[in-house]
Symmetry: none
Subunit: 387 residues, 2 copies
Amino acid sequence: MSKKTNIKNTSRTIRPSKTGGAEDAYTELPLDQILQGNCIELMNRLPEKSVDVIFADPPYNMQLKGELHRPDNSHVDAVNDDWDKFDNFSSYDDFSKAWLTAARRVLKDNGTIWVIGSYHNIYRVGATLQDLGYWVLNDIVWRKTNPMPNFRGTRFTNAHETLLWCNKGENYNKYTFNYDAMKALNEDVQMRSDWTLPICSGKERLKVNGHKGHSTQKPEALLYRVLLASTNKGDVVLDPFFGSGTTGAVAKKMGRHFIGLEKEEKYIRLATDRITAIDELEAEALEITPAKRAQPRVPFGTLVERGMIAPGTLLYSPKSSNGKQHIAKVRADGTLISDSSKGSIHQVGAALQGAPSCNGWTYWHLQVKEQLVPIDMLRQQIRQELH
Amino acid sequence: MSKKTNIKNTSRTIRPSKTGGAEDAYTELPLDQILQGNCIELMNRLPEKSVDVIFADPPYNMQLKGELHRPDNSHVDAVNDDWDKFDNFSSYDDFSKAWLTAARRVLKDNGTIWVIGSYHNIYRVGATLQDLGYWVLNDIVWRKTNPMPNFRGTRFTNAHETLLWCNKGENYNKYTFNYDAMKALNEDVQMRSDWTLPICSGKERLKVNGHKGHSTQKPEALLYRVLLASTNKGDVVLDPFFGSGTTGAVAKKMGRHFIGLEKEEKYIRLATDRITAIDELEAEALEITPAKRAQPRVPFGTLVERGMIAPGTLLYSPKSSNGKQHIAKVRADGTLISDSSKGSIHQVGAALQGAPSCNGWTYWHLQVKEQLVPIDMLRQQIRQELH
DNA sequence: CCTCCTCCTGAATCCGGCA
DNA sequence: TTGCCGGATTCAGGAGGAG
């Protein structure tokens, strides 16, 4: 059982045919619509080899256990939706295999598929993609500028998600990749496999009664880059896990057609309202998040790690008016130790001077051939590499 | 068939025992050595649960690429393609399963394993890790500052590799993670899951007759961060695909023990020379920022006992946003009593705030000359005495 | 209108020692 | 093994109010 939801009056007429089985097959693509139901059944009703690109944001199977609080004791509103629960890896794999098989049938031979995930699920999804014959073109890392920290200090901040971009096989080489558009978007340097973008928050984040409209809404900037890279104007983009409809919103804005598949009524309502309010952009499109121009932050530890300053190296302060000079030793984790204090280059510099603060980059020097050179010189080198 | 290679004169004597099978078992760990042979066989000869960390840089499945094509390189239909791919990925999976199983036996229950790979193999490796019961702690993205560009403009620049960091399972929670050292290395901001480091080039890149000594030599900075994060001084690090010996070089430098497994004679020679030339850093330089949890516990009652806080003293919470401030009185046994609750400094603090927990040391303050001073100041005094 | 400050929040596999 | 309980733990950015 499934029904369709029209997004705009201009959407095409649907003619389900009764031939060939219990399910109604779409003889024509239901463009710019959200179809309600199980995405596998719905995909099987679409004509084969009919869509240009698939973007899929399947459940991540997060397997969260207890409650989590921030250090200020506030409660973390985690993803604990029923749709994210699976019994075990095996049942998750069955699910992945099923929807990716249905997706493969619908995808044009020269089409491509994007799947986004986290470490909880992306390794399984990636293996399943390969098992089904999909060919990985790139794995893309979405570096979040503002991820949630690790509140308990138990792991590295989980600061990225992964997208897999695949075509239907090694020998299908005519997929769309707008190389020059990507290069232009990246200030005339080849677009890399790591994309730095903020998470979806602020005004862009859809709310219902003051609460998140969807627990995992993706930022439009992410979809913008995906669609700009891998589709042309007028292409058809299928999203089998439509959710809050970011794919549809960006597709409409960019003059692409979308087909959204979604089980839950509440998300369909949310997405429908959202997309209805959107106007298609004129020819020239804008990147929502411009590249940051600021100088990249370089921790002092980076110099140690890279072997530019070995642990055990002595650093020297400038000689003060009374001829006194401070010395500190570099430790393995990029902190300093002096006679009387330990800590960052800034902390130790401040402590030794009895000052409230200190710029360690200019205060501390290396001895190079009987000359003192500020460690800031080394930071400049690294910043040049990071360009 | 395998043999060992001593790296330094001080290495311990090895006593292979003839008991229990055709293979010689090591009754003692062959520390700081490179063992020649098949890594699975070698791992099976090591004592179980004996190494603290495994770092593995397995073949990326590029070698198998030839097998992924038909011998005549003919175009393969998508559907028929499946078995072909499956068979070949399957053999890579068998290989992964075999060495990861052997690795699991050798790894201490509270040990962790790192595996590095690219999109060609990491999704398969990740799924295999999970299938074997390993629990992913983080997936780490190594962002290369200087990756090889995509010359043909057909894809995004492949600018990263992925590391998976796992422990032996969901319930093994005592793995080593030097959170504070990582934070210090990153200038007092939590270390994230994306690491920006250059590839191995220049002087660091080992050459033999003017050519690369090893085709996939990893940068020492990468191993430095891995080992600083997940090992302590004196720990044993096993690398089953030792190659050019970056793991051993960094381990030696950092005062960790290594065990290297490697099939090829030429790489063993390369790595041996390399590691021999390396000096271990001095002890003071290897010190890192200690975890607060590692500091001696001081019961609040000690302050009362020592007369630093008299029974009857009033303690004050910080003023909250609505101007409210909680007050509690110290009792003779080091518990607090307030209007509504009694108990430890933590329990009363939590109860008064209606919070799930509270660090009483930072929550409660003494009034000293019209200023509020956290009682943690007094704990610091005691800890210094204990020094 | 601008600045400053406080509050809130985000796909999270989030503690550990001891009785 | 379970349960108790001490006490350690966060970054970026947007919204909104105060001044």
